[in-house]
Symmetry: none
Subunit: 242 residues, 2 copies
């Protein structure tokens, strides 16, 4: 059975302008691989409602799960909740449970619960809240879409909340072999190896160091005899590898 | 008048698996912002031909310019040229000019020009080549789509080749000079040269061969008297270059 699939939609002008280097997709990719879900697509769009709505509709229909990152803070241009509501055809309003979480949080800090902060309690009708142990303001899930914050520490905490509940396929195991040859030299023997094990995945990732060119060969697949056999075969094919 | 728009499509399983942190979109975002082009969307898809073809068609229709990164190396899974050919409805084959560049490169290194390496000369019909001063294998452009390598140093050199033509709307011409000195020795005289011609672009791309270290110096700009003068000046500054 193939692994379940996922995509992530990142909302943020600060990424597209080159000001911030995106890291949440990279983090999520590693976490999903670990639990046997294939990240199949990443999209980054600007804070423009039509584009967000289009991307949510397309990606949530195409893949088993869609994650989003960003656009759920207190500022006027944080429009993800409205975009998700529009994509699912449901209303969006301040909700009692989310409001109570935030009111308690600010009261405990003697901080004012301003209208801007209250925006963070706006949740599409019918969504489930996603716990935010870092800064309280919740994410939410509706259908197969998980809407999470862009701040990396909050994003990571929300991923940790959500992942165990998703149905995971078989975990992927991997083996790496560092070979000090240019990629163009390993391409043919690696292709022959890949042809012998069509159920496994072979990748080659070139690098350059002061001593010359090299390539990291990575073999991935479900744990078992075929993976073990392919790994022995790969080491025999590239005896200088380490 | 609004800024021109662009998107980048990144092809690479190694990004989606979480193995590699994507950096080319981040680099391109900064470069485009600097020259007044708005990066409007980023997509990352797997090495799957249908997905690449779909994304090329959608993004090249929606934005003024589409850049792609990855999938043009020598390995069996590098399918970008075929996907671009399919998206534009043109054939893809080994082309004489690209073949000649690579044949000369491998001959100079006494290296075999294998069938895997010959794949790097496969170019969609009607495309223009994009200069690769780092590792020779060219990128290519067809319509408003610029197809570039995923290796960051090569991607950045190709962006440097392409950007001045997009901004100026005039074709960019380039001159290359191979200098057998370490990059650290040429940095100062090259910097002084660049300061004399602020409208032109100067790049240096180091390499290592059995005979020692060297650097390819590349001068880029719109054709004209200033470019010709700077090229004479560059050859006078590095009289050993060829």
């Amino acid at each position: 059975m193939p692994n379940p699939t996922a995509a992530i939609l990142i909302i943020g002008d600060e990424i597209l302008s080159g000001r911030t280097r995106e890291g949440n997709a990279y983090y999520l990719a590693g976490e999903l691989t670990r639990v046997g879900i294939d990240l199949a697509e990443v999209r980054i769009v600007a804070d423009v409602q039509d584009q967000i709505v289009d991307a949510i509709r397309t990606l949530s229909a195409k893949y088993d799960t869609l994650f989003t990152s960003g656009g759920i803070g207190p500022t006027h241009d944080d429009i993800t909740a409205d975009a998700v509501g529009a994509a699912f055809g449901v209303g969006v309003d301040v909700r009692a449970d989310a409001h109570a979480l935030l009111a308690r949080h600010y009261a405990a800090r003697d901080a004012e619960f301003t209208p801007a902060r209250m925006r963070m309690a706006r949740i599409p009708d019918g969504a489930r809240l996603i716990d935010n142990p870092v800064s309280v303001a919740p994410g939410f899930a509706i259908g197969n879409v998980y809407v999470m914050a862009g701040v990396p520490s909050v994003f990571q905490a929300m991923v940790a909340s959500v992942l165990p509940g998703l149905v995971a396929g078989a975990p992927v195991h991997s083996h790496s072999l560092k070979v000090m040859q240019p990629e163009s030299e390993v391409a043919e023997p690696l292709g022959a190896l890949a042809a012998r094990y069509p159920a496994l995945s072979f990748g080659s990732y070139p690098f350059e160091v002061t001593q010359g060119y090299g390539v990291n060969l990575v073999l991935r697949g479900p744990q078992g005899e075929e993976l073990a056999q392919a790994w022995r075969d790969m080491r025999d094919t590239f005896p200088g590898g380490e």
